[in-house]
């Protein structure tokens, strides 16, 4: 199942917190997280790695990024 998360405009460390919450919640094996800074993309990439997930793609859209992470 895929879940979308809108983390645009949230300051550090909220984008990572909401991503890890969604992973811990356990129902999804694929997350699409919208963020608006490069920092958030990097932080999410680092954080999901430690949970056994990986970034499968980063799409740029309207000054924002959609980060797709999947369970490995």
């Amino acid at each position: 199942m895929s879940t979308t998360i809108d983390a645009r405009g949230l300051s550090c460390p909220q984008p990572v917190l909401v991503t890890l919450e969604a992973i811990a919640e356990g129902s999804a094996d694929r997350l699409e997280i919208s963020v608006d800074t490069d920092t958030a993309v990097e932080n999410i990439t680092r954080a999901v790695k430690s949970k056994g997930w990986a970034v499968s793609g980063v799409a740029e859209k309207d000054q924002c990024y959609v980060v797709t992470v999947v369970k490995e």
Partner: protein, 364 residues
């Protein structure tokens, strides 16, 4: 996919950036900046408040070029790598208040997290108490984060709106060039200068400015953050940012040894006092305020440079907080804490707890 991956995002990059900052900070002291204060964001913003006459404590007045460089260097990096994103609107008044109390707490300890590391690297054992306090404050902040504390979303805004703090800093630079320090004079045009004390100790302007620009550039790219270093370790068991902070500490320590700036001890340390309780308490307040605002005082400058207007408001809060600290007798000195320092820490902690408890919202 994004065309170019940020080469500064890796583990070794943050370490190298920390090493560079540590060496530069120690050398700035060698070149004339105050002892164990090569780069101190809180102290230098306090000196800027003094240079503008917002407080009139004669020994801490100087328009520090390092702070100007931090913001402008970050802005250059943000533009060079297409990361300038003008944004604001995430509870700015709350960020202002957090900035005020972050500064008040910092000036009870006599430094920010950056200077805590530099004080330790110079042998000042009191810094250990400061770092303990900082960790305690950040830990309290994390409890709030786990309970859903957040200040809401930013909105994209006009490009020029994102330029506001960089423009203010540019204006400060112009003032500094138009009204340069005059030997032995306490005023030059509109600016106040210290003729004695820490405010009178300064590396040559161009060296300070170049150092600030370089650090601003590198820190924007690597997201260097001394508060995040502790927060991410406790909250996520992540050591990425911590490696950068430890690298700063190690590099400053080794450079201090080489240039003869390492003097271990707890008493007689430069621009420091050894009231252990207040060193812990002051930095607990500062750490909590930084955690609630999402970044250390340096990071707030770098974020301001990449267009974050809320971080800019936090910076202005810190400058206002410095004025309040010195005008109201809240700031410490080597003789001890200020006459109202204890009350200010208590009020600051109460305000931060109020903010932490009252500002929760489910955002997902």
């Amino acid at each position: 996919m994004k065309a170019m991956k940020n080469i500064f995002a890796g583990k070794w990059s943050i370490i190298v950036v920390g090493l560079i900052i540590g060496v530069i900070a120690s050398l700035l002291q060698k070149f004339g900046n105050p002892p164990n204060m090569g780069v101190c964001v809180a102290c230098f913003e306090r000196d800027i408040a003094g240079a503008l006459g917002l407080h009139r404590v004669a020994v801490v007045q100087y328009m520090r070029p390092e702070i100007i460089g931090f913001v402008l260097g970050s802005m250059i990096a943000a533009y060079a790598f297409r990361e300038f994103r003008p944004r604001m609107g995430s509870a700015p008044i709350v960020r202002f208040v957090l900035g005020v109390f972050a500064m008040i707490g910092g000036l009870v300890f006599l430094g920010c997290p950056w200077r805590a590391l530099l004080r330790l690297a110079g042998g000042d054992g009191n810094a250990i108490l400061g770092i303990l306090g900082l960790t305690l404050g950040i830990w309290i902040g994390i409890l709030f984060l786990k309970k859903g504390y957040n200040l809401g979303r930013t909105q994209a805004t006009h490009t020029a709106a994102g330029w506001m703090l960089p423009l203010i800093m540019f204006g400060f630079l112009i003032l500094l060039l138009v009204f340069p320090a005059i030997e032995g004079e306490a005023r030059s045009g509109v600016l106040f200068y210290s003729t004695a004390g820490p405010g009178s100790m300064k590396a040559p302007l161009l060296i300070s400015l170049a150092a600030g620009l370089l650090i601003g550039f590198l820190a924007q790219r690597s997201r260097f953050c001394t508060m995040g270093a502790v927060r991410d370790l406790i909250l996520f068991r992540q050591t990425h940012l911590l490696l950068g902070a430890l690298a700063l500490l190690a590099a400053a320590f080794i450079t201090n040894l080489i240039v003869g700036q390492f003097n271990p001890g707890f008493t007689g340390q430069p621009v420091a006092h050894n009231l252990h309780f207040w060193n812990v308490a002051g930095m607990t307040l500062a750490g909590l305020a930084f955690a609630l605002a999402g970044g250390c005082p340096g990071r707030q400058l770098f974020l301001s440079g990449e267009g974050d207007g809320d971080a800019a408001v936090f910076v202005l809060g810190m400058i206002a907080g410095a004025a309040i600290s010195h005008n109201f007798g809240l700031a410490s000195s080597p003789a001890g804490i200020g006459p109202y320092g204890a009350q200010a820490v208590a009020i600051g902690l109460a305000v931060c707890l109020f903010i932490g408890f009252s500002m929760r919202k489910r955002i997902a």
